[in-house]
Symmetry: C2
Subunit: 179 residues, 2 copies
């Protein structure tokens, strides 16, 4: 029997703005069983793809990104907002619903030829994951998979990440109705 | 023989401003051996204090905070900047060299009577760690220890955290001179 991830994800209505349901994964991380089930299930998915390093984006992608790397016996590299990393970086801009945002990684985060497992807590529109894939490729690495905890399948994340191998632990086909 | 943590910490001169040496832990996280040695050593220190949950602050305290919780078989709770957490929070302001900053946690992050292990990557002036201790106590929990990767012992962090049990993997008695 598989773990009930959905039961540990809090649905918050009208956050960050009216009409939007926010998927709060903090209760999952706070639960010892939830944390372990998340890391173990993602690690099993990732292990088959034989990555050399995990790349996660700040801030929520850091929480299980380090644990996932540890479970796989590999290192963890961080993608951050521009200006947050202290050393030399490469940067990628991506489209939001309104305007643009950007992510940066250190130039030594990924080496030429390295196989990279992308991780984030949530797959929504796929903007940050796509930016991470581009950064990996710019540094000469290969994306061997993108593993998320929750996937909002009613948004076009998979479409934006077409050509990449995508996995998630819990899949929301329609937007949740808060209790 | 213990792991050479210092060798994996990059010292960056004049960051974020002239005259300040920045301790960049990203090379440590990117190294499989560095990541494992960090998590295992912190977990051994933490295990003796029998915590119920790990509390880490965004963003860099998330990277090994989740892995540390996973290694201890407990959950992870997140302290974030005000406005970043979607549910009901408690908040604590703390002094910086110039001005103030604040941290928040969800009201269910720590339960009454829980034993909490505080984690962050770096102990500098101790402001964020002190804020986390206050938040734990406001929610009725007990801080059983504060474990850091690197400690800048030439700054008054331990003084500010007097009365708490403090550990670190690598201790800088004097400010590093960048190579």
């Amino acid at each position: 029997m598989s773990f009930d991830f959905d039961a540990h994800i809090r649905k918050i209505p009208d956050h960050p703005r009216e009409g939007i349901v926010f998927y709060d994964l903090m209760p999952l991380f706070q639960s010892p069983e939830g944390l372990t089930a998340s890391v173990d299930t993602m690690a099993a998915w990732g292990r088959e793809r034989q990555p050399d390093i995990v790349l996660g984006a700040e801030a929520r992608g850091f929480i299980l990104g380090g644990a996932l790397a540890q479970a796989l016996g590999i290192g963890f590299a961080a993608a951050r907002k521009p200006g947050k990393l202290p050393w030399r970086t490469v940067q990628h801009e991506y489209r939001l619903e309104y305007g643009t945002d950007a992510l940066a990684v250190h130039r030594d985060a990924v080496s030429r030829g390295q196989k990279v497992l992308i991780h984030d807590d949530l797959l929504a529109t796929g903007g940050t994951a796509e930016a991470k894939c581009r950064l990996v490729e710019e540094l000469g690495g290969t994306v061997v998979g993108c593993i998320f905890i929750a996937e909002l399948a009613f948004l076009p994340g998979r479409e934006r990440l077409r050509g990449y191998d995508i996995g998630s632990l819990v899949n929301y086909d329609t937007e949740a109705v808060p209790a």
